[in-house]
Symmetry: C3
């Protein structure tokens, strides 16, 4: 065809208009992962989070600190400055800040101006993750944390990884909420042809969107058949994609062998936390925690699972990076068409846009 | 001088205002060369044409196909997808399109939505060239093709080449319509000092602009004296520059030896098709077909002519690329002054701008 | 703190609003250094000065010439053209200009259009420096030159250097007017800890801003103790920072040993001309002349001083380059807070902005 009917394009655009995309402002009143806890220490680490330059470090007692990466005097980056005890000394004119961000010394004069300081951000450290709240500090409530106790539980074993992903975070959430793409983008790694057409159930609760796909029976891709020992065509693979917050998506896999008696067969759980922190409109810090509840002591197996999974995620990074370049050149004629399995992703995008707009309205008020 | 008189600058700007430049919108209702026919096969080839990302391939029966390089679902580039028979399967969620661009399968569901598809573009294959029509499909009339039968004629021999040229296509048309520059930009390749001051005739028919320069007698540059065997100061060199369409310029050379009797001396024709396809405002696909009507079987001579010519075109690519960087930094005080030999180029630029504006008006209507 | 009080931010922004920053238009009616005199010869040298592309060369009799680096015909860069005697021949269509910028030949026609030419700029050569006036030519008064006779005096010895600095020139002026930063940015090269808190005097005359810091007694940094021979804790180091024009800042150092009797101790003078020529809003040609009035014949000592100083200036270039990247990402919430020693820099920035605005008003009138 030369073009879809104008009526279809109009309908598609109308459907997309309440959905978040890469132009939508970030949602600030939310916990995001700033870094793996183990990445932060006594070096001043710069990182751009939600479009803002932040410097991260730990005080002598190990407390993590995050503050704007810029001296309030002449905007010199504090990440190029010096950590002395629990204070940062700007490497330009020596302005000294304590770990609360308060200015406590101006070397060129005896008196230090009062009430001056750098914005610091609430942090929460939970197991391997360091969470940051970039919005209104008084709303930074620990109860809002999408905590993942399994990432630090004794009966789980986890590995981790990180990508600086060259695409926006909304597209990655959408990627994760419909794993149809396992059969195509990941055909050579973690996908099988029967994954895409398998039956699924949707979850559309406000702020919590999910899609559960049951591929029964199936033959597992090599990385999972090797780790679970289910090698035949009788495997069950039940995958739950869950949007838990703008910062977090969890994919939970349940595997068993349908050839074994139901009451005695083992069930294998493989979870992945996809931790998404916008860097800019077109890039994202992508932290990954990958865990299993079996073969806890088999480190070689854990490493093989990790390697297999990361090979697949590399495909996401490259594919969504290429997609982002297409969006770069989108003109006013751009449109996208959705299908049934996009329902959770569409609802999620409407949710993100509504929250972003509410924040913007409050800022404007 | 510190500056030309204000009156001269005002007059120059007024003269330039109806002329196309790199800011002028592209002309879409026109045949452009998408690629050499031999460049397209069973690989999915991405190419940006007139600012639009297109993917090119051939079906199993060899028919060339061009369509927008983006799945209508989530904008994944089809050029990173899979060609299966005569269908493209998007490498993200597996949407399958036939060679007409119609969506024929959505793997995550049984029913395929109807009336959905990707925009495809009319193509015409003529000898070595694959032409594309990026405008209104119903206007894609083969009779509008600026066909060049000599490029595939038995009594001609042709070679070809390609540059991704870092400048806009209007400047290249202008470059070709006044070959005065042979004496300067190409002084060491295909130019001689007597070329610039030689007498010329202008052709200013609407949509067809030309300049014929007769350098008689002259000594040919080495590349042409070697190929024609005219080594003395008695050569005739008659060069016709012709704008044939926004996509095509032909330079035709006629050479003979004035020392020989008119009725018996041989005449040598050397033609070059300069095929200009805008990629972006500041870049251009530059396809070249270079032919001769003599020494048809002397492949070594053909190769030497080609090498000599491409050395000159490399000078155009570098020179006009440098000029483009000057235009990048042009401010509101920018002006250009024209001389007599610019008349065809000026008329051509007025023609291009008028056509572009007419198309824009129709789009707006 | 999470943020300074809104009242402090409002006050800071109000204080900054009359101050020049990197968004402020350039000041054109002023002498700037185009190049070291020795850099200009019979090659056509391109250089962007105050956002304009200029080409520099010398005529056969050695006179320096600066003109716009663009043929008035089709904007080809003259710096890619040919210098023939005292004329430039454009390498595109052969337009020939004399050293006054007047068009004197158009090869494709017999008659040369009259009154056409390229803008040339007044130049002044003084010792090692070639100064250019980019503004109204009739205002180019030699008496306005911030001449530095010591740079060519017999009783001084000077070395020079050049950086293409990746930051704006206002920030560099500010950097130089408060050398507090010697104790921090240059802690390992030319700074000592007692420099920042040492007493200082301000000079706030309109158009001439200064800060004199007296560090007495002190221990000199190695580069200066070695060159002056003052190795103990009894040195006097008196540093005068002077803004002399938008194009020039001079730092003058006076050194002596307080342990010696006042009437007989030697005094050492070390001067540095920091010569700032904006290239773009975010970059600057940074010419440096560094001189001493002692050990005139000790070339090794001169070289060691030069090496030590340039190591420090490399720190400025890197530090201010990093600061510029912070400013790149500044949003509408950006603010900066000043302290007492910023007074000359603040007055200087107000002066620059006022001059820029006056020029803009005159242009608009």
């Amino acid at each position: 065809m030369t073009l879809p009917a104008e009526s279809i394009i109009v309908r598609s655009r109308k459907a997309a208009s309440p959905m978040a995309n890469r132009e939508t402002p970030f949602i600030f009143n939310e916990w995001y992962v700033a870094a793996f806890a183990s990445d932060i220490g006594r070096d001043l680490m710069p990182r751009t989070l939600l479009g803002k330059r932040v410097v991260l470090f730990r005080t002598l007692d190990g407390t993590a600190v995050a503050m704007d990466d810029r001296c309030v005097h002449r905007s010199f980056p504090l990440s190029r400055s010096t950590l002395e005890g629990d204070t940062i000394v700007c490497n330009y004119h020596g302005f000294r800040y304590d770990a609360r961000g308060d200015l406590i010394q101006v070397p060129s004069q005896k008196a230090c101006p009062q009430g001056i300081g750098i914005r610091t951000y609430p942090l929460l450290e939970k197991g391997p993750l360091l969470w940051i709240w970039m919005g209104d500090a008084e709303r930074a409530d620990e109860s809002l944390l999408p905590d993942q106790p399994w990432t630090r539980a004794d009966d789980w074993r986890c590995t981790r990884d990180y990508f600086l992903h060259p695409g926006n975070y909304v597209s990655m959430h959408e990627n994760l909420l419909d794993l149809t793409h396992l059969s195509f983008l990941h055909a050579n790694t973690i996908g099988t042809p029967d994954f895409a057409p398998a039956p699924y159930k949707l979850g559309l609760k406000e702020g919590h969107y999910s899609l559960v796909r049951s591929v029964i029976p199936t033959r597992l891709p090599e990385v999972w058949s090797r780790s679970t020992g289910i090698h035949g065509d009788t495997a069950a693979r039940i995958i739950t994609s869950e949007f838990l917050s703008p910062a977090l998506h969890r994919v939970g896999g349940r595997y068993y062998d349908t050839a074994l008696p139901e009451h005695s067969r083992p069930t294998f759980h493989i979870f992945t936390a996809h931790i998404l922190t916008p860097e800019t409109r077109n890039s994202m810090h992508y932290h990954i925690i990958h865990g299993r509840d079996f073969a806890l002591d088999d480190e070689a197996l854990g490493q093989a699972m990790h390697t297999g999974l990361i090979a697949a995620f590399q495909e996401d990074v490259e594919g969504l990076g290429a997609l982002e370049r297409v969006l770069d050149s989108a003109d006013e004629q751009h449109y996208e068409i959705s299908v049934a399995s996009d329902a959770p992703a569409a609802a999620m995008r409407v949710h993100l846009k509504r929250r972003a707009e509410l924040e913007q309205q409050r800022l404007g008020a």
